[in-house]
């Protein structure tokens, strides 16, 4: 998704700060990049392609200034070209704007501006903004008035930052797109900062400027910010708003790869640690209790989970937990829910979103809220839009995730949903059996990581026609997630199915060129039935990989086995998932794919 960075008060380091910020936003995925710096003389450099290309351009044709903005673009309106890259300028070149989101009324604005004599050079919706500002400046407005009036005409979602020639100031506004302000520089070791002194940063996401400061201010929808010697935040009516300065605990350096070839592999290997953080001080095995603060006081009579992508698979798992506890629960794709919501009644609506900024999920949550529902956000991101808009928030505490393919945050989501179910819906007997299994998770996952043979299996089947994944109950969402992971990063065709559904159609796709990954845990009815499904595909000569704890006889019918330790079936879902993460990773690696930045995908999707 597009990324915004801006800074003021960095003196001679303005350009470096911007380019560095863009590199820190690379993980969001992008196809073009650019910067604008100003103060005295406004200069813009932008290009399609990688940030390295922008850097080369800046080396051969430098710009300098005391205030600046930068942007990584992920194409929505118009292809990735130099012209469509941000920042965008007005006719005079005196205004530069970066934007994230979608301006829904851009066509009519553009028509009006064209009629008024403005010339457009790009296909983007964004370009209307600098021209609107130019219009207002021409009418004699001050730069701040011009910015406010221009933004006031926009409909849709936006995070916008702008600089204007001859003005040593930075302007920003947001509506339905993330924008966060960084304040000051972290004094070494002390952490005390005078927030009335700069420098100031603005970005789509904290990692962009985290190496400079941990002090942040979250801008709300409809708010404007002006940065010069100080910072002034105002609401839509222009009334000044007092903003709280919060401190982020994440370490900027946590965004290094620590010797791994890819962030994804680093993050897969970080899962034991991520789960320790998720469970810390929340479970008490000897006392059979769970403490998730006030979220634990909820007692939902029914639940509707809304989420997208990997988080949707976590939602399916969460719904299953509550169903098993006798509480009606259902998972919905957020994009569908937002436009075709079901009757809500007294249900609690739970949005699962790693970033807390997923536009589809936010939209679904807003729809639920509009209909009077109580809402809960399950997220990794403190201070995100989802946490601020929902009535309650449950954090998964996985730490920053850079790889576009979600791995450790899925594990964190499943663990947090277990805590949520145990605290609000389940009896002490269930707590006594599940809590030890949760506490075993870090060690059990480490065991999978230490002993996995996924790399060899992936190498053998990297050229397969298709990959199928089957599972039942808690393993069904894992089957879907295993297929999604493989699709995302290997670009190969993969599908996950409820194991019993295979014979109702998909079996027609199964051949000796399509390995089937069967998820089988325990030795009960579910395992026996899944083993039956394994026999069905085996009869069609498909290679079978059993991902199993070895309690059933699945291994007898499998060509390969990926082992997991024995544990509670709920915890086993996280373990089989680790094996499938490794399969996806190694298949993609064998095929030479850009694993951390798969084509066409972005880390957090902040457009609907």
């Amino acid at each position: 998704m597009c990324g915004i960075i801006g800074c003021i008060g960095r003196g001679g380091e303005t350009l470096d700060t911007l380019v560095h910020g863009l590199e820190n936003l690379e993980y969001r995925g992008y196809d073009s990049a650019g910067v604008a710096v100003g103060g005295d003389d406004l200069g813009v450099r932008k290009t399609s392609g990688k940030i390295e290309q922008l850097r080369e351009m800046l080396d051969s044709d430098p710009v300098s200034g005391t205030v600046g903005i930068g942007h990584t673009r992920w194409s929505t309106h118009g292809p990735p070209t130099d012209e469509n890259a941000h920042p965008h300028q007005d006719c005079t070149g005196g205004v530069a704007v970066v934007h994230n989101g979608i301006i829904e009324n851009y066509q009519s604005l553009r028509d009006d501006l064209t009629a008024a004599g403005h010339t457009f050079t790009s296909d983007t919706d964004t370009e209307v903004v600098p021209h609107l500002i130019e219009e207002e400046l021409d009418r004699g407005a001050t730069p701040e008035e011009a910015f406010r009036t221009a933004v006031g005409q926009l409909e849709g979602s936006y995070a916008i930052a702008a600089i204007i020639d001859g003005t040593d100031a930075l302007f920003a506004a947001r509506n339905d797109s993330p924008l966060v302000i960084g304040v000051g520089l972290d004094a070494e070791g002390t952490g005390t900062i005078d927030v009335t002194e700069g420098p100031y940063f603005i970005a789509s996401d904290v990692p962009a400027f985290r190496e400079f400061t941990a002090r942040v201010i979250y801008l709300e929808d409809g708010e404007f910010a002006r940065f010069d010697d100080g910072i002034t935040v105002t609401d839509a009516e222009g009334t000044q708003v007092e903003k709280a300065v919060e401190t982020i605990e994440w370490d900027a350096e946590e965004t290094g790869k620590s010797g791994y070839d890819h962030y994804m592999l680093k993050e897969i290997n970080e899962q034991p640690r991520a789960l320790r953080q998720c469970l810390r001080a929340r479970v008490d095995e000897l006392g059979s209790s769970v403490d998730i603060d006030t979220v634990g006081d909820l007692s939902p009579s029914g639940l509707q989970f809304v989420a997208c992508g990997t988080s949707y698979h976590a939602a399916l798992y969460g719904a299953r937990l509550f169903e098993q506890a006798g509480i009606p629960a259902r998972a919905y794709l957020a994009s569908e829910y937002a436009t075709s919501p079901p009757p809500i009644g007294d249900d609690l609506v739970v949005g699962i979103t790693q970033s807390g900024e997923t536009a589809d999920t936010l939209s679904a949550l807003r729809e639920a809220k509009r209909r009077g529902a109580e809402t809960l956000a399950v997220t990794n991101t403190v201070g995100s839009t989802a946490t601020r808009e929902c009535d309650h928030a449950l954090y998964i505490r996985s730490g920053p995730e850079i790889g576009v393919a979600a791995t450790k945050t899925f594990a964190g989501q499943l663990a947090a949903l277990n805590l949520f179910a145990l605290a609000t819906a389940e009896d002490s007997q269930t707590r006594r059996s599940v809590i030890p299994a949760l506490r075993d998770l870090p060690g059990d996952i480490q065991s999978v990581l230490d002993n996995s043979t996924a790399a060899e299996i992936a190498e053998q089947y990297a050229d397969a026609e298709s990959f199928f994944f089957i599972g039942r109950r808690y393993q069904y969402p894992v089957a879907l997630e295993g297929a999604l992971k493989l699709k995302e990063i290997s670009y190969e065709h993969a599908e996950g199915f409820a194991a019993g559904e295979l014979k109702h159609g998909p079996l027609a796709l199964v051949t000796d060129q399509t390995p089937v990954f069967a998820l089988v845990v325990g030795d009960g009815e579910i395992a026996r039935k899944t083993v039956g499904n394994i026999k069905e595909v085996e009869a069609r000569d498909a290679p079978v990989v059993a991902v199993t704890d070895g309690q059933s006889d699945a291994e007898l019918y499998a060509d390969h086995v990926l082992e997991i330790p024995e544990t509670h079936p709920r915890a086993a879902a996280l373990l089989t998932n680790v094996q499938l993460q490794l399969v996806a990773y190694h298949v993609a690696n064998n095929l030479g794919r850009p694993i951390d930045k798969p084509r066409n995908l972005a880390k957090s999707v902040t457009v609907e």
Partner: protein, 397 residues
Amino acid sequence: MEPRTAVVLAAGEGTRLRPLTQNRPKPMLPAANRPILEHVLDALVEAGIERIVLVVGYRRERVQSYVGPTYRDVPVEYAVQGKQLGSGHALSQAADVVSEPLLVVNGDRLIESSAVEAVATAFSESGRPAAMAVIERDQASRYGVVSLDGDEVTELVEKPDSEGHGLINAGVYAFEETIFEEIEATSRQSGELALTDTISRLIDRQAVTGVPIDGLWVDATYPWDLLSVAQEVFERGQTSEPESAPGVWVDNEVGVHEDATLQPPVVVGPDCEIAAGAVVGPNVALSRNVTVGPNATVERAVVDEDSRIGHGSTVIDAVIGQDTDLGVGTTIPGGPSDVRVGNQIHEEQQLGAVLADRVEVAGGVSFEPGTLVGTKATLGTGAHVRGHVPIGAEVVR
């Protein structure tokens, strides 16, 4: 100029510590409640090192995931040694990322920051292109024995036949960046490239300063050495956990029942739970997420992360690996005993048992002193175990 970069050699398995090193290299074995490597990194950071390069190899994911991209705000980079072909070969893996004077330490040996500082200072003052720490030790024949003339090293002999006390190579070095060329120019001995061979060449050119150090310098050669290493950590209070009473270090995020007893010295890491009636200590280190059941007794033991000690168990003189479960009423009554490793017999070791990672011990199992149990072994209900249980073995009775 004093070196600001340190290269830490952490690629070796430490085969004499098997079966504990089945899943991780020796630097990741516990010195009390934290990996040995963490103590080494502490010493470097406290000595003012500004950049750390970790040479990793055997089971490197375990090091990388634990340490991450920074340690106490000092940036950490990784160099990979694909095959473990000696310490000189290991160091040469860092050649691409280091082009300045450097310190070199072993990641598997506890040292103090004063030793690092002493070597760095002596190196910059001496004007010689190399400096190495030397320390007086018993059992000198386990190590490299060093001869000094004033501050100049005149001889380095690896594992000599001579018995007893002597001045040994403490494994803390400072070099000019030209060390990488020196390693390149050193001939291999049976395929391996030992850093000490390169140092011997430098010694011949009178180019090595000897830096006597004292204080903490602990090496674990055999699994049971981890018990004495823990004791050293206790004596110096280097547990990195808050001290709630003299000699009692307990993390803030633990559950200790009010009817449990902690006897100093003892350290309890994060996420641990200790049940009513349990007596833990003296000389016990519980790493992260360890569970001690009701009425269990644990004494002189190192229990690594995610392991569980069942109801009413007795665990004395024991090293317990990661994710190992001791069932109800497990009895490890403690040493002394003769322990066999390969063809060698180590006499009169104070050792109850060494259990490696992921061992499953059912209820009522008892261990004869000196028992070694391999990774993922399963010990059935009521079994009486002695000697050496291999990796993955199943003991029924």
